[in-house]
């Protein structure tokens, strides 16, 4: 894939109202660390855990294997299913998409590959755990590809963590290709550490009558830019992109959530809820785009940010770009503070101010929290909220 012909560098991906050029995310040295430790997965959970270069846990049921389901570390998949991997990678997020995605395409040396053939219903929630081993000071460059065949159904829970505390960068590009009639729920909890500066790009292609729903929980502690996107290419394709995030200390977290309505009668929903503490910055950009010819489509978005500190900075920017008349669309956005009446009500029942605030904040993110696919994932998100709220008084 190396190309020696000199060419103008691609532009950096756009994250409106987020200044991240100085993070130097386009200068990465892929790490090569190995480990034998499994950090998060426990038998018999379905799925895979990849840490650095190592796959330390993998459990795929006999039934799934007999149906042709592939769940592998990216390196193993490139060896075992080279042609398939080569054919698919870059199909959703092109290698020319932007400078950071292109660089990921050139440099990734780890990741996860999932292939689900047509007419397969995966009953277990499929866990995909990616850990950045930040021990040598080198960077994490990972690629995830999830292919869902026609009329198949799967729920994915992806997690990302930093192990180790060296100051490093991470680039993770995640492609989801949902074929005709596929039903996909893609939940993720991103928890990169304070010393990890990262770019995460998740995008799905949604074919005719397929559904891809994102439940995207951002609990990273470092500086990070995140893109979540759905291309509703097929007739009647649907995508709900739900995002929650909580920022602390001095971190900056910038998001762009995009739904592109291309097919007729497509339905796109963006729903974002963020909480900002201390001196941190959280920016939600929501983009709903309906192209000409996508008749009968619907693009809705709602982004709300709660500021818990006067020194915090928050933004919720809705953008609707519509090039077709026969559509419905709408947006709502707000930046506000904790509702005093709710606090008063909770406290009037004897609940302390601290606990009441925690309940209100959890409630604020409750709609997305409730959609996390497992009880364990819901509890994990609640634990993350509590962990981050400990910094409230800093």
């Amino acid at each position: 894939m190396a190309n020696n012909i000199a060419r103008a560098p691609l532009p950096l991906p756009e994250f409106a109202k987020v200044r991240y050029h100085s993070w130097q995310l386009d200068d990465l040295t892929p790490a090569t660390e190995n480990t034998e430790t499994t950090y998060f997965m426990q038998n018999p959970t379905s799925g895979i855990e990849v840490s650095g270069q190592s796959t330390t846990y993998r459990h795929v049921s006999e039934e799934m294997i007999s149906q042709g389901v592939i769940v592998m570390g990216m390196k193993q998949a490139q060896m075992a299913h080279g042609d398939l991997v080569k054919k698919l990678i870059g199909r959703v997020i092109s290698k020319q998409a932007d400078r950071l995605s292109a660089q990921n395409y050139e440099q990734f040396n780890t990741g996860i590959f999932v292939y689900i053939p047509e007419h397969v219903q995966v009953d277990d929630v499929l866990h995909l755990i990616l850990n950045h081993l930040a021990m040598s000071g080198q960077d994490f460059v990972a690629r995830v590809f999830v292919y869902i065949g026609a009329h198949s159904k799967v729920t994915i829970l992806q997690e990302m963590h930093t192990i180790g505390s060296e100051k490093t960068k991470a680039s993770v590009v995640i492609e989801v290709l949902a074929n005709i009639g596929a039903q996909v729920t893609y939940a993720n909890i991103d928890s990169f550490g304070e010393q990890t500066t990262a770019f995460i790009n998740r995008e799905a292609i949604v074919s005719d009558h397929a559904t891809v729903d994102w439940q995207n929980a951002e609990f990273n502690d470092g500086n990070i830019v995140i893109r979540v996107a759905s291309q509703l290419n097929g007739e009647g394709a649907t995508s709900h992109a739900n995002v929650i995030g909580l920022t602390i200390k001095k971190q900056t977290q910038g998001l762009v959530t995009t739904v592109l309505n291309k097919g007729r009668h497509t339905v796109g929903r963006i729903f974002q809820r963020g909480v900002i503490l201390n001196r941190s910055t959280l920016v939600f950009n929501g983009i709903g785009k309906i192209i000409k010819g996508a008749k009968g489509s619907d693009a809705q978005q709602e982004s709300r940010v709660l500021m818990l500190s006067r020194r915090a900075r928050g933004d919720a920017n809705p953008l609707l770009l519509i090039d077709e008349n026969d559509v419905t669309a709408g947006h709502a956005a707000s930046v506000g503070r904790v509702d005093d009446n709710q606090m008063y009500y909770l406290m009037s029942r004897g609940i302390s101010e601290r606990m009441a605030r925690k309940l209100v904040i959890r409630g604020f993110m409750g709609e997305v929290l409730a959609k996390m696919p497992t009880q364990a994932a819901q509890q994990k998100v609640m634990a993350e909220i509590e962990r981050k709220l400990q910094y409230e008084d800093d």
């Binding site: 009500y345 909770l346 009037s348 029942r349 409630g363």
Partner: protein
């Protein structure tokens, strides 16, 4: 015995004086009703006792058993034994009713002695059935999408779960049909004991047919102008507030007076 004592209470909201010297004593074991025309300060009294930040005490004091409430935050007042069933309860998405009530009960218990989940559920089921509330109610988000009647029932359910010493019920009857009113009243009556006192705020005598008070106070122009027994409420029903005002020779304007005069 616990005593709530309101002494010469003056309260302002946004710079305007609403309460102009209220005196009141509520002991556990007693049921008090405060009646009065619209805009006379009944809700102001209840919110001030609970400690709503928008209500400013400019003069006078409120005590619970000698403890001055001015020194206590809203949650501390609640833990001291006060409860306010609100006229307009907040809706809180993402927090279930059951979880909220458990947090409220646990807030009153030491950290190493939190209520056991099974005993909590048993108690909740018992009280919920007593108030003819459905099982799914417990798992719904706090007051979210509840009808007016469901919210009132939920306030009473919370009261029965928390078991306060003194409960203030702010227009718990408003917006209830007669069947719901009976259910809510049954809940309040079930709490009646030497360990429990109530201050009910209402416009209508009807509520007092179901929860018979020991004392009835009439509030007008930011003060309690008359106190009597249950028969005072019946008299008011018959003669209206204007009749009482004229009898007492008070110079108080009643919001709805002109309208009634035209009828």
């Amino acid at each position: 015995m616990t005593t709530l004592k309101v002494e010469n209470l003056h309260v302002s909201v946004a710079g305007k004086e609403i309460l102009k010297g209220v005196d009141l004593i509520v002991n556990t074991g007693e049921i008090h009703a405060i009646m009065g025309p619209n805009g006379t300060g009944k809700s102001t009294l209840s919110q001030t006792i609970m400690g709503h930040p928008a209500y400013q005490v400019t003069q006078g004091n409120i005590y619970m058993d000698g403890q001055n409430l001015a020194d206590l935050s809203v949650d501390e007042r609640a833990r001291a034994g006060l409860f306010l069933a609100m006229q307009y309860p907040s809706e809180i998405q993402g927090v279930t009713n059951a979880e909220f009530m458990r947090a409220a009960i646990n807030a009153r218990r030491p950290e190493n002695d939190q209520i056991n989940v099974m005993s909590f559920i048993e108690k909740l089921d018992e009280k919920r059935e007593f108030l003819a509330m459905t099982e799914e109610m417990a798992e719904r988000y706090l007051n979210e999408g509840f009808s007016g009647g469901e919210k009132k029932r939920n306030e009473i359910l919370q009261m029965m779960m928390i078991e306060p010493q003194i409960a203030i019920l702010d227009e718990i009857d408003s917006g209830l049909d007669i069947d719901a009113l009976k259910v809510v009243s049954r809940g309040v009556n079930s709490m009646r004991s030497d360990e429990f006192g109530t201050l009910m705020i209402t416009h209508y005598q009807r509520l007092l047919d179901y929860i018979v008070p020991d004392f009835v106070h009439v509030m007008m122009g930011g003060k309690i102008v008359k106190t009597g027994d249950a028969s005072l409420a019946k008299k008011l029903e018959a003669e209206g507030y204007a009749g009482l005002r004229d009898e007492l020779g008070l110079d108080v304007h009643l919001t709805d007076e002109e309208i009634n005069a035209e009828v």
